[in-house]
């Protein structure tokens, strides 16, 4: 079986089974877990600690903590959420130690006037509240699938995400790249529901705008 299939299968296992296998010392299961989550974990850690090598260390420490803490896992969240919560706490601790950590504060976020959000006609305009000229979304229906799923689209998405504020990056990565629910992300990052939503909204909006200008060029 190839690596991708094996790693995908691990996510369909119930948490109980997964943990039982780990406790029994099943190295294959551990390797599959690592294969499936490690790259994401390094990217998440890198948002906090900035340096890739440090992020890798944080992730390694996280795996140790996961193994040593297996007996303490109570199943109040999913196993995946538990792993990522440990990761996020460790990355924060490490960044704090290196005076790099800036806590999630919405007040530090750029406001809407920085061009992150689309523009609409002002109140005195005959079409007040409608899309302003130059901001109207294009139809993507005619974009060929090869372009939609192409390497360039991929690099636009990821370079846009990398340019976001750290808070927005964390939220969009956890929600849209790693597939966590809103509730899981709120718990993991200790964010209120509305702050989570605002961060996600702005992050997605940036990605959408970047894609819209790219697709409209063709």
């Amino acid at each position: 079986m190839d690596g991708e299939k094996r790693a995908a299968a691990i996510t369909t296992l119930p948490d109980d089974e997964l943990i039982a296998r780990l406790r029994a010392g099943d190295e294959t299961t551990f390797a599959q877990l690592v294969e499936h989550y490690n790259a994401s974990m390094v990217r998440i850690a890198a948002i906090y600690v900035n340096e890739f090598a440090v992020a890798e260390e944080v992730v390694q420490d996280t795996w140790i903590a996961v193994l040593k803490g297996l007996d303490r896992f109570e199943g109040r969240s999913s196993f995946k959420t538990w792993i990522f919560t440990i990761l996020s706490n460790r990355a924060k601790t490490r960044a704090t130690r290196e005076s790099r950590y800036v806590p999630l504060e919405l007040s530090d976020e750029p406001d809407d006037s920085d061009g992150a959000m689309p523009r609409f006609n002002p109140a005195n305009h005959p079409y007040a509240g409608s899309w302003a000229d130059g901001w109207v979304p294009h139809m993507w229906e005619s974009v060929p699938e090869t372009q939609l799923l192409g390497q360039e689209t991929r690099s636009i998405i990821f370079s846009t995400i990398e340019a976001l504020s750290p808070n927005q990056q964390q939220v969009i990565r956890l929600r849209d790249v790693d597939g966590f629910s809103a509730e899981e992300v709120c718990n993991m990052l200790q964010l209120s529901e509305s702050n989570q939503r605002v961060l996600l909204h702005r992050a997605r909006e940036r990605v959408r705008q970047a894609l819209d200008s790219y697709f409209a060029q063709e």
Binding site: G3, G25, W131, V207, R208
Partner: protein
Amino acid sequence: MSHEMSCKELVDLVTDYIDESISDEERAKFEQHLTECGYCNAYVKQMHLTVTLTKKLAESDEQKPVPDELLNIFREWKQEQKPH
């Protein structure tokens, strides 16, 4: 009288709409607006597709081999687990 939703208001609510955490009343206004506004229709489709593409293209991300250090960590841990 409840006013109709503007494009700006629709855009502000799109994340709640996609997450299905929008009130019934807002959803009705949102969907009503979509039937009347081609721009917002395109916008919501773009947002859905943005989310889908981010997910899909991330999945095609590098599947790196498992680092040896991690396997060693596992083996050491397993060793410690064994009753003495």
